[in-house]
C-alpha cells in the first residue's frame, strides 16, 4: 500500500513538471496531493490526510484550475531564447546537491536514533491513530502564537489578493 501511494505521488509530481498543458499539469498535481494524503493515512494520521484533501485538493487546486480557465492560457509558450547551458548546469547542480543531501540525511545518526525511538515507542504501546482533539490541544497549548500568525497571514493575504486584482479600489 505504502509503495502504491508513493508511486502515485512521485508519478503525479513528475508528470506535473513535464506536462506542457497547464490544466493536465494541475490534474496531475491533484493526483500527487491525493497520493500524499494516502501516505499520511499509511502513517496512521487520518486527520492530516483529510485536511490535506480538503485544503489542497479542495481549495487550492480548484482555485488554481479556476484561474487557468479564467486566463485561458492552457499551453506553455516556448522560451524566447533557449538557454541550454544554464539548463544543464542547473540539472547538474541539483543532482550533485541532491546526492550530497541524500547521503548526509540517510547516513545521519539522528535518523538511526529516531528509528530506534519509533521502535521503542511501538514496543511500549501500540501507535494510536491521530485524532482531531489531540491536534487541537497541541495547537492551542504550544503553538498558539504560530496559529495566530497564520491567521494574520491569511488575513493579510486576502487583503493583498483583493488589492492586487481589483481594477479600481
Amino acid at each position: 500500500m505504502f509503495l502504491l501511494f508513493a508511486l502515485i505521488t512521485i508519478i503525479g509530481a513528475l508528470a506535473m513538471s513535464q506536462q506542457k498543458n497547464v490544466i493536465v499539469a494541475g490534474l496531475c498535481m491533484v493526483l500527487t496531493f491525493l497520493g500524499v494524503a494516502g501516505l499520511f493515512l499509511m502513517l496512521s494520521n487520518p486527520v492530516a490526510a483529510a485536511l490535506q484533501v480538503i485544503v489542497y485538493s479542495g481549495a487550492i487546486m480548484v482555485l488554481v484550475l479556476f484561474t487557468i480557465m479564467l486566463l485561458n492560457s492552457h499551453e506553455e509558450e516556448p522560451a524566447i531564447q533557449s538557454r541550454p547551458i544554464q539548463r544543464w548546469v542547473g540539472a547538474l547542480l541539483i543532482a550533485v546537491f541532491g546526492a550530497f543531501a541524500f547521503r548526509i540525511v540517510m547516513g545521519s545518526k539522528a535518523l538511526v536514533d529516531i528509528n530506534t525511538l519509533a521502535d521503542a515507542n511501538t514496543a511500549v504501546r501500540p501507535m494510536e491513530a491521530m485524532n482531531l482533539a489531540k491536534v487541537g490541544e497541541e495547537i492551542f497549548r504550544h503553538y498558539l502564537l504560530g496559529f495566530e500568525i497564520v491567521g494574520l497571514l491569511l488575513l493579510a493575504a486576502m487583503v493583498g489578493a483583493v488589492a492586487l486584482t481589483k481594477k479600481e479600489l
Binding site: G58, A59, L65, F66, M69, N131, L132
Partner: protein, 358 residues
C-alpha cells in the same frame, strides 16, 4: 457469519466489510436511479402534469411509469457512444468516472443503523468503523474532490459553454464549502467529537420534554446554512450553475452522450443521496428513533431510510419550486449571507458553551 465467511475463504471481518460495501453501494445506486424516476413523477405532480407513463412493461403494465427507468437505462446502454472530434480524449473518458466515484464513496462513513452485538462480537453498520480518525472530515474531503469530475468534464469538452459551467462550479464549490465547514464545526464543538456515531448518540434523548434532541432544534441557524450549502454542493437547483440549461446549453455535460452522460447524471443523484444522509445524520439524529432510546436494529435502519428518503424528496421538491439564482446572487448569498450567519452561529455557540449552556 463464521460459517459463511469460512465457506468463501475470507476472515469474518472481511466478509462483514464486504457485505456492508455491497449493501451500501447497492442501495445508494438503487436509490439514485430510482430517484430519477421520482424526480420526473414528482415534477409532474408539482406542475399538475402526468409525467412519464408511456413505457409499459411487456406492453401491458404501466406501474406508475416505473418501466421508464428500465427503458431509459436500456437506451443509454445501447446508444452509439459518440466521441466528438474536438475533445481531449483521455480526460473525456475519465471525467464521468471522476464525477461518479466520489459521489458514491462519500457515503462510507455514515452509520445507517444501531451497532449490534451478535454472538459476542460487535458489528457496526457503517463501512468505515467508528473511531477511524476521519469521522465527519471524510465526507467533507470527498465533497471537496467531487468538483473535479465537473471540472474535468467541462475542460475536456473543449466547449465554451462547458468551460463556463466548470468555472461556475469551481467558484461555487469553494465559496460554499467554507460556510458548510463552519456550520459543521459548531456541531463538532457541541458534541466534543467528530465521529458520526458520536454525533448521533449526542442527539439521543428529549428536548424540552416534547421534541427529540436533534441538532436542528438546538442549532437552527447552523442547519439553515448547512442545508443551503448542501444544495450548492450537489449542484441542484436553485444552485445548478454548472448546468444552467437556459443560459449555457447544458453546462459541463453538453458534449457527453449515452452512458457517459448517464454516469454524470447518476453522479448527481448519488451526490444527493449522500447529502441527504449527511443532513439526516448531522441535524436529524441519523438512525436514532425519537422517544425510543432502545429501538431494535431493524427499526433504526428503517428510520434512517425514512429520513434519507424524506430529504431526497425535499431536494426534488425544492428543485421544482424555486427558480435558479443569478450568478452574482449566488456569490452574494454565499459570501455575504451564509458566511456571516455561520460565523455568528459558531461564535454564539462558543459563547453559550463558555457560559455553561449546552
Amino acid at each position: 457469519m463464521e460459517s459463511v465467511a469460512h465457506s468463501i475463504g475470507l476472515s469474518a471481518v472481511m466478509t462483514w466489510t464486504l457485505l456492508k460495501v455491497l449493501i451500501v453501494f447497492g442501495s445508494v445506486m438503487g436509490v439514485s436511479s430510482l430517484w430519477t424516476w421520482v424526480e420526473r413523477r414528482g415534477s409532474a405532480m408539482l406542475q399538475d402534469r402526468i409525467g412519464p407513463n408511456r413505457a409499459l412493461l411487456f406492453g401491458r403494465w404501466q406501474l406508475l411509469g416505473l418501466p421508464q427507468l428500465v427503458a431509459d437505462g436500456l437506451k443509454f446502454f445501447f446508444k452509439e457512444d459518440q466521441v466528438p472530434p474536438h475533445v481531449t480524449k483521455r480526460l473525456y473518458w475519465i471525467a464521468p468516472m471522476l464525477a461518479f466515484v466520489p459521489a458514491l464513496i462519500g457515503f462510507a462513513v455514515i452509520p445507517f443503523g444501531r451497532s449490534f452485538s451478535y454472538q459476542g462480537a460487535l458489528y457496526h453498520l457503517s463501512i468505515l468503523e467508528p473511531g477511524n480518525g476521519m469521522g465527519m472530515l471524510y465526507p467533507l474531503a470527498i465533497g471537496a474532490v467531487a468538483v473535479y469530475g465537473i471540472l474535468v468534464a467541462a475542460w475536456s469538452s473543449n466547449n465554451k459553454w462547458a468551460i463556463l459551467g466548470g468555472m461556475r462550479a469551481s467558484a461555487q464549490m469553494v465559496s460554499y464549502e467554507i460556510s458548510m465547514g463552519l456550520a459543521v464545526l459548531a456541531i463538532f464543538m457541541k458534541v466534543g467529537g467528530y465521529d458520526p456515531g458520536e454525533i448521533i448518540t449526542e442527539q439521543a434523548g428529549v428536548l424540552w420534554k416534547v421534541l427529540p434532541n436533534w441538532f436542528i432544534f438546538r442549532q437552527p441557524l447552523g442547519f439553515l446554512v448547512f442545508f443551503v450549502c448542501m444544495f450548492a454542493e450537489t449542484n441542484r437547483l436553485p444552485f445548478d450553475f454548472a448546468e444552467g440549461e437556459s443560459e449555457i446549453v447544458a453546462g459541463f455535460h453538453t458534449e457527453f452522450g449515452s452512458m457517459k452522460f448517464a454516469l454524470l447524471a447518476l453522479a448527481e443523484y448519488a451526490h444527493m443521496t449522500t447529502a441527504s444522509a449527511l443532513i439526516a445524520t448531522v441535524y436529524f439524529g441519523g438512525w436514532s428513533v425519537p422517544f425510543m432510546p432502545e429501538a431494535p436494529v431493524l427499526l433504526t435502519i428503517l428510520f434512517f431510510l425514512i429520513k434519507l428518503l424524506f430529504f431526497m424528496w425535499v431536494f426534488v421538491w425544492v428543485r421544482w419550486t424555486l427558480p435558479r439564482f443569478r450568478y452574482d446572487q449566488l456569490m452574494f448569498l454565499g459570501w455575504k449571507v451564509l458566511l456571516p450567519i455561520s460565523m455568528v452561529n459558531l461564535i454564539g455557540n462558543a459563547w453559550w458553551m463558555t457560559r455553561g449552556g449546552h
